[in-house]
Structure formats: C-alpha cells, structure tokens
C-alpha cells in the first residue's frame, strides 16, 4: 500500500505538462497584456532573477539558511512529537489529560505565536528553528498518538496471552504499528516546517528566503519574489523526496 503510493509518486515527464501549460499561458498573457508584467512579471524575467540569484550565490545562501532552519525544526519537532505521542499511549492517563491541551495548542496559528518566539529566543537562527519546531510538534504528537491508539486490539491481546508486558507490547507492537502514522506526520510536517521557518524570517531576520522575498516585495520586484517562491517550492520537493526515501528505507527494513 505504502510502496504503491511511493511508486506512483515517481517522476514521469507527463508530470511537467501542467507546469509547461502554466508557463506558456503566463508568457502569452505577459506578451498580450504588457502592463500586467508589473503585477505578475513573466517567466523569462523570473528565470533571469533566478539565474542572477544563483550566479551571485545570494539565492543559494538564503536557501541554505531556510533549508537548515526548516530541516532542524522538522527533525526536532517530528522526533519529539512522535516520542510524546507514543508515550501518551504508554502513560494513558497522562495522554487523556493532555489531549485537549494538545488539540488547543495545535489549533493556534504559528503566525500568532511567532512574534513571542522571537521575543523569547532572539532574532537569530535558533528562533526560526523554534518556530519550525512549534509548527510541526503538535501534528507529530497527534498523529503518533492516533497511530498508537489505533493498534489492532488483536495484536495487544496476542501479546497479553503470550505473556508480554506493557513495555514489550509498546516496543514490539504499538511503536511499529504507529510507524505509518509517524511517516504521514512527516509528510505533513515538511511543508509546515518550511512555513514555520519562513514565518520566523518574515517577522524578523537578515537572511533566509523569507527575508529575500520580503525585501523583494518591498521593492515591488515581483520577478525576485516569484524566484524566491520557486526556490521555496523546490526546497519543499527536495525535503519531500527525503521523506519518501526514508519511508522506502523503513518499509524495506520492515519487510527484510
């Protein structure tokens, strides 16, 4: 089931068709309505902005900063969230008590708390990492907890009848059963971590794609804004491919 999903996500030239159609339509609109270039730019100009940004190394530097913040935030948030979510199964009363708080905290938009995070952790990279952590933590907790509580009761009964302890049931049944849910949370959290790092940079920073895009927007340089967005989307695809690879490795190990 999982491998089928991953296989269906493999690259095919047909996947480029929508992008090609969009670019051609966009180019035609820019040619047909030249005044629209101020608002929407044009593919050639975006490509030039991309090229100059890459050639000067500026865009790569900002991408590396945002990628690092997002990746670290993703790793910390997802790992801690998965551990907390799974441990809520192990200490069920704590899990039941914490659940409404997790739901409430997870519903608060990261935009609302990001300014406070900047106040608490300063304006450096660490604050952006923390915003990314907060963006991913609650999804990871909720998914891991759901995965743990959705374990087939037959497996737990089998463990009980074979004389397994609660700890053994947790290690041998609950955690492996919840793996798919944890992987799903990773897929969701890739985008959320990037958004978190981006929001952190948007609020206060001197580097990163958030800062790059914000500065370009303040100069009405739509081509550079869109070049930043293209890089951000590419970064999301790269991180998503990383999750795909991790998923393949883990599922291969399970079936080895």
């Amino acid at each position: 089931m999982l491998s089928e999903h991953v296989a269906s996500a493999r690259f095919s030239w047909a996947h480029l068709l929508p992008a090609a159609l969009l670019i051609l339509s966009w180019e035609w609109l820019a040619w047909r309505f030249p005044e629209s270039r101020f608002f929407f730019s044009e593919p050639g100009a975006v490509l030039m902005a991309l090229w100059s940004g890459v050639a000067s190394g500026e865009l790569l530097r900002h991408t590396a900063v945002t990628g690092f913040e997002a990746l670290l935030g993703f790793a910390i948030g997802t790992t801690c969230g998965a551990v907390i979510g799974l441990s809520f199964w192990y200490w069920a009363p704590v899990g039941r008590m914490a659940r409404p708080y997790i739901v409430a905290a997870g519903a608060v938009p990261v935009f609302a708390i990001a300014p406070m995070v900047i106040v608490w952790f300063g304006i450096g990279i660490f604050a952006k990492v923390m915003v990314a952590v907060l963006s991913t933590l609650f999804v990871a907790i909720t998914q891991a907890y759901q995965g743990a509580t959705n374990v087939d009761p037959r497996y737990l009964r089998l463990m009980a009848v074979l004389g397994g302890t609660r700890k053994q049931s947790f290690i041998k049944v609950v955690a492996p059963s919840a793996l798919q849910w944890v992987l799903n949370s990773m897929r969701l959290n890739v985008g959320l971590a990037l958004a978190g790092a981006f929001v952190g940079e948007f609020i206060s920073s001197q580097q990163g794609l958030g800062w790059y895009i914000l500065r370009a927007a303040s100069l009405f340089d739509v081509s550079r804004v869109l070049a930043g967005c293209v890089v951000l989307a590419t970064l999301a695809l790269v991180l998503n491919a990383g999750v795909d690879a991790l998923e393949r490795t883990l599922t291969r190990r399970r079936s080895a």
Partner: protein
C-alpha cells in the same frame, strides 16, 4: 482424566447492563487435558465471551476459574478467527515472539518450530515469508504453531477455521486433531459448524441465549473401530445421531 481448567458458577455481564441481564450465569465446567471441547450456540449466547474469560481478556462478574496447579501465569494460547500475526515481522520472527517475550534465545525454539512445521505440512521456506504472502490456511497454521511455542496447557480457538475454504478446513481440522492427540493439550474451540464440532471435538457444549448458559454437554465417541479423520467423520454410523442431538439442543437454546 485431569482437568486443565475448572469453571465454578461463572457469570458474566457487561458493567452497563443490569445483573439480571447478564450474558450468562452459573456456568460450571471442567476442561480436560487431551480433549477438544467445542462450544456451539446461537449468536450472542456468549461463546466468545466465555473464551475471552478463559484467556483473561475479561474477568467474570462472579464465580471462579481454577487452572491446574504448577503454573504461575495463565497457561493459555489463543487463536483468533482472523490470525493476529504481526504483518511487519517475517513468519520466523512471528514464531520467535514467544521466546522473545519469555526472555529465551531465539534459536531455542528451532527444533520445535521444525517439528510443528512438519506436522502442519509447511515447508521451511515459509519461515522467510511475511504474513501477507501466505494463504488464510497457512496463516492459521502459523498462528497455531505460535500459540504452541508458548507451551500453553490450553488452546483457545475462536472459530479459527471459519474463514477458510472447505478443503483447507478439512485438512486443518485433521492436522489440529492429530496435534492435540500427540501433545495432550486441552483445547476449547468455538464454532458455528455442527459438522466441525463432531469432526474434531471430544465433547460439544451447547450454550443458550438469555442467561441460560450451558444447555447440553454431549460426549462424542467415534472410537469404534478407530476415530475417522474429519474428512470421513460424516460417514460414521453415529454421526447422524450426534448431529440430531446437537441440533435439537440448539433449537431449544434459541
């Protein structure tokens, strides 16, 4: 013959139900070693609930369960209608679970696994496969072997052959019967199938609805000249008599 387990006036009702609406009450029963005791009855009479009581998944509202002496834990193995093999573990790893949980080396069960695999006509190559690659019949065989590796006194089986095709079912019934005869375990088998109960059982307990508990306890004796295999039991001269006795009890039990 010694008893592996004795039930003394056992009753069970769900907490949300009033005591007078208990699922069953006053069930007294002794399950003997070396015998297969079949539980039959209409849906909702509490067959699986009784099995779950024996397994310790639920506790009786009143009454007492006594296991034979010499065991610290509950000496039961449970085989579910749809097996509970862990899908992310290979068959060998699934069979290694009892040793892992008991803190024994994984290799300590190798000889017994080979013996049981042979008894169930399973090839050694099956050990490298995963549950999803096996047929329902093979998975049930593996589930029975897994239960046996924990060395229980009593095997509890909840309609284990119900989802299998007729041919596989007959083979498994024969293999299971032979295994119990060889190893002298006690077994409690829940089934909806009267033919199956007569074919594999030494005893058929008929349970009734609405707190009636056990309404009939029929001993199956097909030993003259020798007990036929499950595939031939329907041709036994006593088969019809037992079938009628169980059927009439079931009719009264509804």
């Amino acid at each position: 013959m010694s008893s592996a387990i004795e039930l003394d006036r056992v009753a069970f009702g769900y907490p949300s139900e009033a005591p007078e609406r208990a699922l069953f009450a006053n069930v007294s029963l002794a399950i003997d070693y070396g015998q297969i005791t079949c539980l039959v009855g209409p849906s909702g009479c509490g067959k699986t609930t009784l099995l779950n009581l024996l397994a310790g998944f639920i506790i009786p509202t009143s009454g007492e369960l006594r296991f034979s002496a010499g065991h610290s834990g509950r000496p039961v193995g449970y085989i579910f209608q749809n097996d509970a093999l862990l899908p992310w573990r290979s068959i060998r790893a699934n069979l290694g679970l009892p040793a892992e949980l008991q803190g024994r080396p994984a290799a300590s069960d190798d000889a017994r696994i080979a013996e049981y695999m042979d008894a169930f006509n399973l090839e050694a190559s099956v050990l490298r496969q995963f549950p999803e690659h096996l047929s329902g019949g093979m998975r049930q065989r593996i589930a029975i072997i897994q239960a046996l590796l924990a060395d229980p006194d009593i095997l509890l089986l909840d309609e284990p052959f119900g989802a299998l095709d007729f041919f596989t079912r007959l083979r498994l019934e024969a293999e299971f019967r032979s295994l119990i005869d060889t190893h002298g375990k006690a077994a409690v088998l829940v089934t909806h199938d009267i033919d199956e109960a007569i074919a594999v059982g030494d005893r058929v307990i008929v349970m009734g609805r609405a707190r009636r508990g056990i309404v009939a306890d029929i001993r199956i004796d097909l030993e003259e000249p020798a007990r036929p295999g499950p595939e031939a039991v329907r041709g036994h001269r006593l088969f019809g008599r037992y079938f009628t006795a169980i059927w009439e009890s079931l009719r009264d039990a509804v």
